[in-house]
């Protein structure tokens, strides 16, 4: 028989919609912050976003140019590996599909890179087809620095560490190379519905 924690009843959350909280997660009220070091402060005048790596012609936008790109408003559920989930979060950003228009590449993976040296790896097919964005607004406001502003990757169907804060570009890769947390014990892919938290999950 499975183990039962003596005396534990649990507090099932009222109003937690079934089917929207992955296994091992709980519904959070606030917006917790997780990062490994100091919050970088990059001036918008110094900010650029680049598509580099396995591409014929790298692409680059300044902040002004980036804000001119067609943007989308998306409402998504997010799931952090530290166990909290947050439902119906509202973002505005540029779809990765838009950024990759006209890009010729044999790459099947992307490495997102950020101010502060953070990197994370994501299969390209998890960023395209309406599944990934570079977000610069949260809840109708410019994205706060502690939450990854001026812009962060948004890949809501994977654990939220994949949604790299302070993102400055994507490097298109032929191989799936572990990024920062993926080299420090966390899962290479990170599907919350399969509870892929750590190496070997």
């Amino acid at each position: 028989m499975a183990f039962i924690s003596r005396g534990f009843k649990g507090r099932r959350r009222e109003g937690a919609p079934s089917g929207r909280i992955p296994p091992g997660q709980y519904l959070a009220d606030g917006f917790p912050v997780l990062s490994a070091g100091p919050t970088p402060r990059t001036k918008l005048s110094d900010w650029t976003f680049s598509i580099v790596g396995e591409v014929d012609t790298p692409k680059r936008w300044t902040w002004e140019e980036f804000k001119q790109l067609p943007s989308q408003e998306v409402t998504v559920d997010i799931h952090c590996v530290t166990k909290w989930s947050k439902l119906d979060t509202l973002w505005r950003g540029v779809a990765i599909d838009t950024l990759l228009e006209g890009v010729e590449s044999a790459a099947e993976y992307a490495a997102a890179f950020s101010d502060g040296g953070y990197t994370t790896n994501v299969p390209l097919e998890d960023l395209t087809g309406g599944k990934g964005w570079i977000a610069y607004e949260y809840d109708g406001q410019p994205l706060a620095p502690e939450h990854g502003g001026p812009a962060r990757l948004l890949v809501p169907h994977l654990y939220f560490w994949k949604s790299a804060k302070w993102v400055r570009g994507l490097s298109l890769e032929l191989e799936d190379k572990p990024g920062f947390w993926e080299s420090n014990g966390y899962h290479l892919y990170g599907d919350p519905w399969r509870e892929q938290r750590y190496w070997g999950d």
């Binding site: 499975a2 183990f3 039962i4 924690s5 003596r6 005396g7 534990f8 009843k9 649990g10 507090r11 099932r12 296994p23 091992g24 709980y26 959070a28 009220d29 606030g30 917006f31 917790p32 912050v33 997780l34 990062s35 490994a36 070091g37 100091p38 919050t39 970088p40 530290t82 166990k83 909290w84 502060g116 040296g117 502690e146 920062f180 947390w181 080299s183 420090n184 014990g185 750590y198 190496w199 070997g200 999950d201």
Partner: protein, 250 residues
């Protein structure tokens, strides 16, 4: 070792609670006996999973407070009044109970003797727990690494590990502990008596030219502030490691 310890699949293990040690009115340490524990490094955490009779489960992560010691692992837990898991761990669990867990987890916010120093540890509230593991490792071995701990608590009775920190600092092994009490102080208190600020950080922190290694753990606003102050003091961003407690938790 941190790397090796997380290499394999992290399987759920049934630990036995050896002892529940009250540390402060809201914080207790749980000394656990974990069969086949693979070992850990200071700074790592583990996941706890509770299962109700009807199969409902809840998981949370807790920092490990103890230095590596065979199959004995201690976590130190703050009871959050609106929490789901921490009131069970701190209020319900007692010696002889079993607890399901897996770990150790995390290969970044870790310190081992070989990592070197000088070390600056900055703790807010129960954020002291993973830093306590580092302090205990430091005190256990003659490493020659110098360390300073700056520890912010609300009041004297909220200081976790107070007596042990006094004792470890008195061993003459290069550990210095600086307390600040932000809300209330006992009579004749000689430590700091305010929230962490630039002047305090400048007085306590190693000069940046010694290339110190900083570990900061606490609530988000505290960590943001402390990390920002160290960047201002010239610390290399890559040598400032942070771990945060969000506004939620368990």
């Amino acid at each position: 070792m941190a790397r090796a310890a997380v290499l394999g699949r992290l399987t759920w293990r049934l630990a036995e609670v050896r002892e529940v040690l009250p540390e402060t009115p809201r914080v207790s340490s749980l000394e656990l006996q974990v069969p086949d524990w693979p070992g850990h490094a200071a700074g790592q955490h583990l996941d706890v999973r509770l299962t109700a009779a009807d199969g409902y489960q809840a998981q949370r992560s807790y920092s490990i407070a103890s230095a590596p010691d065979g199959e004995t692992v201690t976590i130190t837990v703050e009871r959050l009044e609106d929490g789901e898991v921490s009131p069970y761990l701190v209020g319900e669990l007692r010696a002889g109970d079993q607890l399901e867990l897996r770990g150790p987890i995390g290969g970044y916010f870790v310190w081992e003797v070989a990592t070197g120093g000088p070390l600056l540890l900055v703790a807010g509230g129960s954020g002291v727990v993973p830093l306590m593991a580092m302090t205990r490792v430091l005190a256990a071995a003659p490493s020659g690494v110098k360390a300073r701990l700056l520890y912010s608590s609300r009041s004297f009775e909220d200081v976790i590990f107070r007596e042990e920190l006094d004792r470890l600092a008195g061993l003459g092994k290069g550990l210095h502990v600086f307390h600040t009490l932000t809300r209330s102080q006992p009579a004749a208190w000689k430590g700091y008596a305010r929230r962490l600020d630039r002047e305090m950080m400048r007085e306590v922190a190693w000069p940046a030219d010694q290339r110190p290694l900083a570990y900061i753990c606490g609530p988000t606003a505290f960590v943001e502030s402390a990390a920002g102050l160290l960047v201002e003091l010239g610390y290399e961003a890559a040598r400032i490691k942070t771990e945060r407690f969000g506004p939620t938790g368990g």
